[in-house]
Symmetry: none
Subunit: 528 residues, 2 copies
């Protein structure tokens, strides 16, 4: 097990088949470059025979100066009715001009009989011919044995025969696929070990889906049983429940199993890589994701935070910085002075444990939390609070009022939302603006921006990334308090702010205001 | 391995510690009842010694008529400086009056030395005394051995001694915890097997966190090595990366490992249970979740969908209906006919499988779901839809418009919310009312009531019990769609309705309207 494990990324093929995931051609190129920098061995670009975008990617990727990764084109073995040299898919694979070609083949008798609807022997011939032909054209050929574990369970002899056909014909890696994703770790290990015994010289790969919720563990188990080639996607994107999540698999291989995969400085890019791919896929990053999630090393105040302070390893299985993540102490009701100090340090502020300002901020946080605020997900609002307590703050405008109205003329007509804002700028100018929106908060946001963007043009780059509403004490029903959480971004950076009020519009206004102030304090500082 | 596996649910304790998760007292009771119906053996209600809400839950849960589940209170062993009979936490555990008490204890020498800061022997004495005392008070005591796997790796003798101390003192189950969540399956299996060998008579439990992304597999591995008691949370909610996800663990145990856990008809409630808990936790259900996710059995058109048509098992590892889920062929296809028929039967309506009205309702449900509706938590809205399709509906008023405004005069003044409503009653009377409220929705609700209560006095008894807001497609920020869920009650009965719109006010109006119509249809029928 001391061999280097090679990572074969399928984010751009399997990952892109995930529901609601779409990468533009530019996104694809950027991901290829990032995966290369991160240190994966192979990047599967797609299936050129069935997807013209994949063919375009291969053409454009040829101009990339990849340091480490090789591009791989993906496609099926020849069609049962074509000669291999006339097969359109095989031709498309060759036209991709990649060093590596991965072809998928059936290894389960049921699949061959019911889906391909050909003889079992014919399938073996097709595999052998396809691999041999591609090898003869100078390609390194990897074989994805689809439904391998199902096939092995059905008829281990036939499943092995499919692998042997490819191996005889010159395939370089034999990839065992759990296409249905239904297997559990000890079964995966057992079968991998058995194949290892039958084909002792063939490098084995593993490609699993997450339908039983065990894809990461199944991948690790296959490696522990002798696989040296690992396929998966960043963040586990993929059809149905997704593929093996490389953002978990890679740190487990390297940090838990002690197997060399990438360089330590590359591993430290993992959190960045995961978030970037999420961003490009237009998927919200899952905060609870292992290793790379925003909450992966978050400790609520109180007992756990205390224990973490006493002994770092109390609730952290690895040093978060190894994967580019970090410890967060969330400031919440339970939290005391020490978590606030730690948080201030995160913001780069040295807060004195016994200073009056510390006491004052703690008092203020406690008051706000009693009102329903929670700073757990709103670092920017907390930082503003700290800055204000230290006097490092200034007013960018004075509100003289706002008004939001929502109107519907009759049962069937659409609803109109309009907002007006009246405010005074530091130079004495009074702005009075009006705007429409898709809802009251959108209208208010638009009117505020209209009033401020001429004076503070940097706000033009700011947009709202995420908007969350939580009703507190929901049982008070429409009289309950509302907490609004807003995530803003200026393209380079993102920040979270919070507002609480019985009135959802006021709560949204408070969070919008914090977002604007936070941005302006960062670009302009607190002194004029 | 033919023993029945007992499920110990910690959603209300560990789950509720997850970032941004909060359950109201009513939510907690509803979850207890649902877990009971689903067939879990134990429901951990919380830590009464540190959380007054948990104490309240135990008091209220005593009135529930649980068929299967036992309530368990959770807390620590006695403090090192208190006598066990004077310990405040132990007293709180007894006051919870649960049949089962679960106490957590340290089993890792490093933890004892650095976090508890007491002697190793003293820790063993504390465990033994605490268990013995609670047992003497007539409690069934389960021991959660915190950091057990870390402790076992450090000093297996000491980790075992901690278990033995509890076992000697009468603990009924010894639960091995991977508190840091950093272990991988074969290690978990190996340690569990070793403990099994040392303590052959003690029932062993498993409680793991998901920090390595292997919590489900780790749980299954422990069971394969002899554990018979399984802890976890619905949807894997919990601190950091969460706990073992019971929504994956349970079907794996039952369908993959062939171990009896719950009855088949209970297992078929799994998807519903998962979505209900997500809804109450105000968390977006993860579409890619194994077994219960909306995409778990979704096949995009083309090759896969074709293969699925030819051979159901091509891309489905289990029959989705076994867990209450189903196959989706296109990206978003809604409720199958059979679940709609089932639901109609629940409402006491006999719906003909092939009647045009059935087709029509299915079509309408599909359209609404594409718009972002979800009827999972809104039975009353679904029933209204069915009634309308059968013509069993009438109009109680015609809306001629509404208007809601929110106004703030300056930065410090309070915000005023006012609504006006214009509508026509069946007798031709036109009502035009105005009302204030604590927020725009409250004002709208008040104005609607004012217009209707003279004609329909039964509405006076109706009040809103709960109000939930979910932003769909949150990345569209304030332009995103909003789903509002309202629970209404008339004192005797309660019902849930839903509304979706880009505008939160409109979404709320739709849900309010359904609530009012539902009540009036029930009191007055659909014929005048």
């Amino acid at each position: 097990m001391s061999e280097r494990i090679e990572i074969y990324d399928v984010t751009l093929r399997d990952g892109a088949q995930g529901p609601r995931i779409k990468f533009s051609s530019d996104d694809q190129l950027r991901i290829v470059a990032e995966l290369d920098a991160f240190g994966v061995s192979y990047v599967e670009g797609g299936q050129p025979g069935s997807n013209p975008k994949a063919a375009e990617l291969f053409a454009r990727a040829r101009d990339l100066d990849l340091k480490h990764a090789k591009m791989a084109a993906f496609g099926s073995t020849r069609h049962s009715k074509s000669a291999v040299e006339d097969d359109a898919n095989i031709a498309a694979l060759l036209e991709a001009e990649t060093e590596v070609v991965t072809i998928f083949a059936k290894s389960s008798p049921t699949q061959v009989a019911n889906v391909l609807r050909i003889d079992l022997d014919q399938n073996l011939t097709i595999i052998e011919e396809s691999v041999a032909y591609l090898t003869a054209q100078g390609r390194r050929v990897f074989l994805d044995a689809e439904h391998f574990f199902d096939g092995y369970g059905e008829d281990s002899g036939y499943a092995l025969a499919a692998l042997e056909a490819a191996w005889r014909a010159g395939a370089e890696v034999l990839v065992l696929c759990d296409t249905n994703g239904g297997w559990v770790p000890w079964q995966i290990a057992e079968v991998t070990r058995a194949v290892r015994g039958k084909l002792p010289d063939a490098p084995l790969g593993i490609h699993v889906h997450n339908d039983s919720g065990c894809a990461v563990a199944n991948t690790l188990s296959a490696v522990s049983a002798g696989a040296t080639h690992v396929q998966g996607t960043i963040n586990g994107y993929g059809e149905r429940t997704g593929n093996a999540n490389l953002s978990s698999v890679i740190p487990n291989l390297q940090l838990k199993m002690g197997l060399p995969v990438v360089e330590p400085e590359q591993l430290a890019r993992l959190t960045h890589l995961s978030h970037l791919v999420a961003e490009l896929a237009n998927m919200t990053p899952r905060d609870s994701d292992p290793f790379v999630g925003r909450d992966a090393f978050t400790h609520k105040g109180g007992m756990h935070a205390d224990a973490v302070k006493k002994l770092k390893t109390s609730y952290e299985h690895i040093v978060p910085e190894l994967v580019g993540n970090r410890t967060h102490i969330s400031v919440s009701e339970m939290s005391g002075r020490s978590s606030l100090l730690q948080k201030a340090a995160e913001f780069g502020m040295a807060l004195d444990r016994d200073a009056p300002e510390t006491k004052q901020v703690l008092q203020r946080v406690k008051e706000l939390e009693n009102e329903g605020y929670e700073f757990e997900g709103a670092d920017a609002s907390l930082e503003l609070l700290l800055l204000k307590a230290r006097g490092q703050h200034r007013s960018f405008f004075t509100l003289h009022g706002f008004r939001v109205s929502v109107e519907r003329r009759d049962a069937d007509s659409s609803t109109l939302a309009e907002a007006t804002v009246k405010l005074e700028l530091p130079n004495g100018d009074r702005m009075h603006t009006a705007a429409e929106g898709n809802g009251p908060v959108d209208a208010l946001n638009n009117a505020l921006r209209k009033a401020l963007e001429t004076t503070y043009p940097e706000l033009c780059a700011v947009h709202l990334e995420d908007y969350k509403v939580r009703i507190l004490d929901a049982q008070a029903a429409t009289r309950a308090k509302t907490r609004v959480l807003i995530e803003s971004s200026d393209g380079d950076d993102s920040w979270d702010t919070v507002g609480v009020s019985e009135n959802i519009i006021t709560a949204s206004y408070i969070a919008l205001l914090d977002s604007i102030e936070y941005k302006l304090l960062r670009t302009r500082g607190y002194e004029d």
